[in-house]
Symmetry: C2
Subunit: 436 residues, 2 copies
């Protein structure tokens, strides 16, 4: 048997303590599968005296976590602190720069600095791995890097944020409105005290940018992700969608097209979408995550499981550690950094889509004529329309419609025509319908 793989862990919160528990609980089978022992030698967090429910007495402690990267008795540094910059990034640079392998669950950091870090890893022949950064316990980074490696991918999409999915599926089950369920989710610990990154779609965007890089061989371009959160979705929208045969899910999706200049362009979006009830993603409920990859030979593949939590996330972190112990280490983004293409973003106006549109309007004559005229003038063809009488609670009237497939820009044009109209009491909601 090879000599032990010596690891240091920075960050001993939810995931960090989960990793320590996993390494203890499954010790024997990990040794068998890794082909050598995995030995924690040093740890770091902010507060040395905090009781974390795990025994840390056998490990060296560093107050300054960057010091972990310099230790002689460490082959691999695990970063479970979080934050796109700051100490996590400093630790990543120091570790890889010292030729130490580096494993992280930090999607924000990889989305912003993944390419630069992969370069450093290459230069120092160190591994950089981040399975836990995307979709928690689901091995989807490996799934794309190794499972679908023979395919040109057509689309990658999925449910990448458990908090949003929990909220949307709870709204579906209970008929309650967004704010109510969010408060409940926070009380139960399913949503953070500051849920901004989750409900605005930013967390899903981080993950999508990482998947798009691996799947399409693109340089990560987080800033190009077009992101809409779920805060505008009302209980009434979910009820309407249901009546039409859909559920609403926050869908992160990436695909590519060839521009007129012959260059590959990348479209990355996070948006609430109407998902047909017979689509596999429609039955993904609660905090579960799921990712679909559509390959030109594999067809549609689905990976589903727990998107967060100490156990699942630790499972992904330790799977990366085992890969490294086995010396199954390749390019973090599937191909070497030099081969990753900078892909300009797609301007999606020409993309064909069916769309759900919801207007909240004042209850007076002519409103419907005004809306439908704007649709007609913008070239939007309406497939079905429902006007729902005055709601009990707000005195607003709801006009919801589904359009035939048409270019996205027409929807925007129609909304521009209606912009400033006194008939509308609230910003209209536009939800694309997920194409099967």
């Amino acid at each position: 048997m090879d000599k032990p793989l010596r690891i240091a862990i920075a960050g001993l919160g939810t995931v960090g303590t989960g990793v320590i528990r996993l390494l203890e609980t499954n010790r024997d089978l990990l040794t068998a599968r890794a082909g050598r022992e995995i030995e924690v030698t040093a740890v770091s967090a902010r507060d040395r005296n905090r009781n974390r429910g795990v025994d840390l007495s056998r490990y060296a402690w560093e107050d300054d976590m960057t010091a972990l990267a310099a230790r002689e008795d460490v082959d691999l540094v695990v970063e479970l602190v979080g934050g796109s910059d700051g100490p996590a990034l400093a630790l990543a640079r120091a570790s890889l720069g010292a030729g130490k392998h580096f494993v992280t669950a930090n999607k924000a950091m990889i989305a912003h600095h993944g390419i630069a870090l992969a370069k450093t890893a290459e230069a120092h022949e160190a591994a950089l791995k981040f399975e836990a950064a995307v979709a928690g316990g689901i091995p989807v980074v490996k799934g794309l890097r190794e499972g679908t490696s023979a395919n040109a991918l057509e689309r990658i999409y999925g449910i990448l944020n458990g908090t949003c999915n929990y909220i949307l599926s709870k709204m579906e089950d209970t008929g309650a409105d967004f704010g109510e369920i969010l408060a409940e989710a926070q009380a139960k610990g399913f949503a953070e005290a500051d849920p901004t990154f989750d409900i605005q779609g930013i967390d899903a965007a981080h993950k999508l940018a990482i998947l798009a890089a691996i799947g399409f061989g693109a340089r990560i371009d987080f800033d190009a992700v077009r992101t809409t959160g779920i805060t505008q979705v009302k209980a009434a929208d979910i009820a309407q969608a249901d009546a039409l045969g859909f559920v609403i899910r926050l869908i992160a999706m990436a695909d590519t097209e060839t521009g007129e200049d012959g260059r590959t362009r990348l479209l990355q979006r996070v948006r609430p979408c109407l998902v047909p009830k017979d689509h596999p993603l429609a039955s993904v409920d609660g905090p579960t995550n799921a990712v679909v990859a559509e390959g030109n030979f594999s067809g549609r593949l689905l990976f589903q499981g727990a998107g967060a939590g100490d156990g699942p996330t630790a499972s992904a972190v330790v799977a990366d550690i085992i890969d490294i112990a086995r010396e199954e280490i390749g390019a973090p983004f599937s191909i070497p950094v030099a081969g990753l293409e900078p892909m300009p973003p797609v301007e999606p106006g020409h993309r064909m889509e069916r769309t759900y549109l919801r207007f909240t309007v004042t209850d007076r004559p002519g409103v419907l004529a005004e809306i439908t005229a704007a649709m007609r003038d913008a070239g939007v063809s309406i497939e079905s329309l429902i006007q729902k009488g005055r709601a009990d609670d707000g005195g607003e009237v709801l006009v919801a419609m589904v359009t035939h497939e048409g270019p996205e820009r027409c929807i925007k044009e129609a909304l521009d025509l209606l912009d400033g109209s006194e008939s509308l009491t609230d910003a209209p909601l536009v939800l694309p319908i997920l194409r099967d």
Copy 2:
């Protein structure tokens, strides 16, 4: 860039020609991901003159496929011939014995000879890979070997035979009986002319034995798989199941328990089961496959996709080739052969299960009393029972029931008590209910 990886392909049928098409279509991206060119140098099949719709003129031809293993210009042999023994096995032994890497889609051969072949591979430092042997295009061998590697698995189960799943879900959709749908599936090419391996559950058993070895670190024991096919399932059972909130699927499942002697024992079964409609496997329709792995840290992970077909299967074969080109080669069954435990089979009489039982009986007084008395005497507790009046077509009466959870042996005892009863016009059907 490293020098090309030179491969030979034996078998140029559905999968073999799919692999050649894939290697041509995706050439550039494969080179980028593999880090080197993948070059076919030689091929073999039975009939040199058959038109296979792919250009073979650039490759050397061998009439005797075993000769591929001896060629100087071959680093890796791909076997896509089939059959557990015979020429495929001879080729595997010769290739690995010559230190050449070996990739196969042959579940029958791996289920019977996988351990011996893995030993030969180890001895000669060659890779043995068989992603395509299980669940076609779904990367579930990698999923268990690498994705869930940090977990002790509780159960592995899934839908591993597309033909059976197509038949069962078609029966569900149409209400037609088994024989009718089988004939239709054969006409459409979804089922083989000789469907025995599929409908008797043997094909699923091959795949399960492979997954169980990887997931539980067991020596493959195909003969210990307890296998029941789908031929006894009637349209009436599917209707009954539906009324009770279930669908019927052929489920392959493996788990372990510790025997009184302290040894780990393995239970492997392929059986039609009642699957609760809200379980992810219930919505797996048509020829799709899906595998669930339940880890002690990851929780439940689901992998879903096309279980067969030229494209998906080729996708899995070429993913293995890329792994080898990347030199990401580890133990075929996750741990070295010496570490794989021979696990005696579980005698499942004590296992607790809820069960669906269906009797076809003559329509005369006392039949129900006879059946329920047998249940009582065997200690089986009935949760619900339906007696359906004379069926239109056969003059038989159907008695269907669902039991409370109880030891499996009691069901067997009850059936033994009823054995030979003149009231029963057909063998009773016993379907377990999949535990969530």
